[in-house]
Symmetry: C2
DNA sequence: GATAATATCATACGAGGCGTATGTCAATAA
DNA sequence: TTATTGACATACGCCTCGTATGATATTATC
C-alpha cells in the first residue's frame, strides 16, 4: 500500500528529515552540513524542511529533542533498577558519562547545540535529564543520605563534571586509562555529598 | 611619526584584527560575524586576515589564545596570594567560576570555541588553566591535605563543574540567588577531596 | 460525487559570505 | 639605485541560505 493517511505521510516526512539531519549533524557537524545535501539524501528538498521546521536551527532543535528523549529514557532505566537510591544515583551518573562518550552526542548535544541554540540549561529538553537527576537528589536528601543542599544546584554541578569528564575521556589518547582515572576522581567528589 | 618599523606595523595589524574579531565574536558570535564587516571596522580587508591567520578559524584560535592568556594570568594572581594551598585552590575555583560568568568568555571560549575548534581539552591554550589547577592539586596531595587521586583528572572534573555552574548562573533569571546555591553545592563537592 | 479549500512539498530567484587568485605598493637588501 | 620580498587590497566564482512562488494531492463542503 503506497498511500497511507495524510497524517502518517507527514509524520514520515518529518521523521525522514530528522533522521537525515541527525546523520549529517552527527558526522560533519552542523555548520558543514548542507541542507540541500541531507534533504536530498532523504529524497526531499529544502522546501519540506522550511515548511516543517522553519529553518536550520528549528531542525537542530528537533534533532536534539529526539536525542535527549532517548538519553532520558536510558537514564530512567538505569536509575530505577538499582536497589538503593544512592546506588541508583551513582549508576545514573556513570550512565551519563558513558552516553557523553558517544560521538553523536558529543558533537550535536555538547558542542554544536550550545553554539547554535545557546546555553543548554535553558533548553526545554536538556531539563529532562537534569530534572531526573534533581528528583533523585531530592529523595536522597529527604532520606537523609546526603547533606542538605539545593538539589537542582547539585544536579547541575554534577552533570557538568560528568560531561566534562566524558569529553576528556573521549578525546584522550588512551580512553581506557583516562576513564579509570576520571571515574575515580568523579566518585571522590560525589562522596562529598554523603553525610 | 606616521611610519614606524615594519615589524611594529605588522604587530599592530595583527592586534587590530584580533581585537576587531574578538569584539565581533563576543557579541554576535562566530557564525554571524562577517569577515568583511569586522575587518572593515579595523580599517582593513579580508586580504590582511587571510595573509596573517590563514582563515576564519585561525583568527578564532588567536582570539582564544589571547583570552586564555588573560584568564591564566588572573588565576595565577588569585592562587598565589592566598595564605594556604587549600585556600588558594578554592579561591582559584571561585575565580574560575566568576570568569565564566563573563559573556565574552561564555560565548567565545565556552560555546563557539568548542563547536569550531573541537574539544577544549585538546587546545594548547586551555591546558594552561588546567595545568595551573593540576599543579595546585598535586601540591595539596603531596602535602596530605586531600585524598590520593590523579591530580589532572580531578582538575578536569572540577573545572567542568565550575564551568557548568557558571553557565547556569549566568543564564538564570536570578543570578544572585542562583550563584549562592551553586557555590554552596560546588563547595560541598570540593569537600569530598579533603581527607 | 463534483468542486472548493487547504496543506504539503518542489522550484526558482536573489543576496551574502567564504576562499583563492591576482595585482599593487612600500620597505628592506644588494 | 635597483631588485626582491612581503603586506595588504581587489576581483572573481562557488556555495549556502532564506523567501517567494508554483504545482499537486488530500480533505472538506455541498
Amino acid at each position: 500500500m503506497a498511500h497511507r493517511s495524510r497524517k502518517e505521510m507527514i509524520a514520515e516526512t518529518r521523521a525522514k528529515l530528522v533522521a537525515a539531519a541527525r546523520r549529517a549533524f552527527g558526522t560533519v557537524g552542523y555548520a558543514e552540513a548542507s541542507m540541500d545535501d541531507f534533504t536530498a539524501s532523504a529524497g526531499l528538498t529544502r522546501g519540506a524542511l522550511y515548511h516543517h521546521f522553519g529553518d536550520k536551527k528549528g531542525l537542530l532543535q528537533a534533532v536534539i529533542a529526539e536525542i535527549d528523549a532517548e538519553m532520558f529514557a536510558r537514564l530512567k532505566v538505569v536509575s530505577t533498577r538499582a536497589d538503593t537510591l544512592w546506588r541508583g544515583f551513582v549508576d545514573e551518573c556513570t550512565a551519563y558519562i558513558e552516553m557523553a562518550l558517544e560521538p553523536e552526542i558529543q558533537r550535536i548535544v555538547l558542542r554544536d547545540g550550545p553554539a547554535v541554540l545557546g546555553d543548554p540549561s535553558q533548553w526545554p529538553s536538556q531539563s529532562e535529564c537534569i530534572r531526573s537527576m534533581t528528583e533523585n537528589l531530592q529523595k536522597l536528601r529527604d532520606e537523609g543520605t546526603i547533606v542538605a543542599i539545593d538539589a537542582e544546584a547539585a544536579a547541575r554541578v554534577i552533570s557538568g563534571a560528568s560531561l566534562h569528564a566524558a569529553q576528556w575521556i573521549a578525546n584522550s589518547d588512551d580512553p581506557e586509562a583516562t576513564s579509570k582515572k576520571a571515574v575515580k576522581a568523579f566518585n571522590v567528589l560525589l562522596d562529598g555529598l554523603l553525610k
